[in-house]
């Protein structure tokens, strides 16, 4: 009898400690959301490297009684620190810098203006977010989705609206993966056939001196001007310096492969872990996803409009299609410029020309984030 009693108490304890006893409808819905994101990542291949860990983190975050965010230290809590203390986004930038070739930008520096113009989407969404009731900090964090730059979105929302991090990260990465679907209709709508057919002059050769000096000088200049983004931009340029110096191949290789892969796993999982039912299942989330789309479309349109202006001023030397690459999303947005250009005129290679505004967009989004941090702190 005593054994039976002990057995019953033990079973009761196991049940009480299990996730089933505290499982809510919200948890169930969020696990379904996680499964949907997994489907999008692995079956539809929408940014699988990031959406995969985010989706799995979302599923993990909705198991009750795991103690992930309790008093005791554990691996999930440690990963979360990497996001809370803004460690992962700069490390991702280190890898991006090591993978990025700034030559197209250095060969035609005027394309930096396209990267600046595409930031208009950030501020259109910021205004829209404030109109629907978000406060200025939340609106700024939502607006940065328009920059199409995942690490910067996470960086800014961690600083200004950490409670919206999950929704902002999912919206940012979802739209980044949907660049090939979202941008082409806007590009076709805003440009004429003749503009799309413009063949751009070949870029000049960029020397190693320029490629090495640029990351150093730009880091000094931007970090002194906007210290809040010194970590982001410094890491981006340090990674690029590893790549261009020619004597740090091992560091460059680590930054653009092993390191960025490890950090991507942590950043994705940690971001997914912020998607608990109580923080995600709100009308705010739907609004953020809608505003993110507005931001993204606004950024694309801003880049295209400025591309058209540059086309006029240069007497038709600039194909306005490269303007849409001013939203960061490296190198996807540049590839979309190339594809739309090729469809209009087979044999018109815009890829290298579009890489200029594309990397300018990364710098532009970081500068926009730094300016908002400086203004709103």
């Amino acid at each position: 009898m005593e054994a039976l009693n002990a057995f019953s108490v033990s079973l009761q304890a196991v049940w009480n400690d299990s996730g089933f006893s505290a499982f809510t409808m919200g948890n169930g819905i969020m696990i379904l959301v996680g499964l949907l994101l997994l489907y999008m990542a692995f079956v539809k291949e929408f940014e699988p490297l990031l959406l995969g860990p985010i989706a799995f983190g979302c599923i993990l975050a909705n198991f009750p009684n795991t103690g992930f965010f309790g008093e005791e230290m554990n691996v999930m809590k440690a990963i979360n620190y990497g996001i809370t203390y803004e460690i992962f986004p700069p490390l991702i930038f280190l890898g991006i810098g090591a993978m990025t070739d700034f030559s197209p930008l250095l060969a035609r520096p005027s394309t930096l203006l396209l990267g600046a113009a595409a930031q208009i989407g950030v501020f259109v969404a910021l205004g829209g977010a404030m109109l629907v009731g978000f406060n200025v900090h939340e609106a700024a964090a939502i607006g940065i989705i328009g920059g199409a730059d995942g690490p910067t979105s996470i960086y800014l929302s961690t600083k200004l609206a950490p409670h919206l991090l999950g929704a902002i990260a999912v919206a940012a990465y979802s739209y980044m993966s949907l660049v090939p679907l979202i941008q082409p209709p806007i590009m076709k709508l805003m440009t004429t056939q003749a503009e799309r057919e413009i063949v751009m002059k070949e870029l000049r050769q960029v020397t190693k001196f320029e490629r090495v000096v640029f990351p150093i000088v730009s880091t000094i200049f931007i970090s002194l001007l906007l210290p809040p983004i010194a970590a982001l931009l410094g890491c981006l340029m340090l990674g690029n310096l590893f790549r261009e110096s020619g004597v740090t191949d091992r560091l460059s290789d680590t930054a653009q492969n092993a390191l960025i892969n490890i950090v991507t796993i942590f950043l994705g999982t940690g971001t997914g872990m912020t998607m608990s039912a109580e923080s995600f299942l709100r009308t705010d989330t739907l609004l953020i996803i809608g505003l993110g789309l507005v931001a993204f479309m606004g950024g694309t349109a801003g880049g295209l409009i400025f591309g058209k202006i540059m086309c006029k001023f240069t007497g038709g030397a600039i194909n306005p299609l490269i303007g849409s690459a001013g939203v960061s999303a490296v190198p996807m947005a540049a590839r979309v410029s190339q594809l739309v250009g090729m469809k209009s005129k087979p044999g018109n290679y815009l890829l290298m020309h579009a890489m200029g505004p594309n990397v300018a967009g990364v710098i532009g989004t970081a500068v926009a984030a730094g300016t908002m941090l400086a203004m709103l702190k």
Binding site: L112, L113, A116, L126, V136, H137, A368
Partner: protein, 123 residues
């Protein structure tokens, strides 16, 4: 924390104007920085005079090999090899300047072969 401070302004239009101005100013400054780097670059190629740029093209197109004296060719080298060598040299802008074709003795060490190669007269 940043959120504990009150923002400078909460007017979205002013935020947009200030931010876009700063973004444009920073990126325009970067344009000038890039131009400055290019200007002070000690390794950049000096622009060549236009006449010199056109010369090789004209020379390759207009100077037929027949107008140059026939090269001295060692026995055992067929005409296809001579044509390939002449074409490769012409591609570098030295059409009609093949004076002699000899088979080099490859015996000996790689150092010796390298020394022979280095002794070729160069323009």
């Amino acid at each position: 924390m940043f959120m504990e401070h009150s923002p400078v302004t909460t007017n979205p239009l002013i935020i947009m104007l200030i931010n876009m101005t700063v973004v444009f100013l920073v990126l325009v400054s970067l344009i000038y920085l890039i131009k400055l780097i290019h200007f002070v670059d000690p390794t950049k190629e000096k622009p060549k005079p236009e006449v010199e740029e056109d010369e090789p093209l004209v020379a390759v197109k207009s100077a037929p090999a027949a107008s140059a004296p026939a090269p001295v060719v060692e026995e055992g080298i067929n005409s296809e090899v001579i044509a390939a060598i002449s074409a490769a040299i012409a591609a570098y802008g030295f059409a009609g300047q093949v004076k002699a074709v000899h088979i080099l003795n490859h015996e000996g060490t790689p150092w010796r072969a390298a020394a022979k190669f280095n002794n070729f007269p160069r323009k």
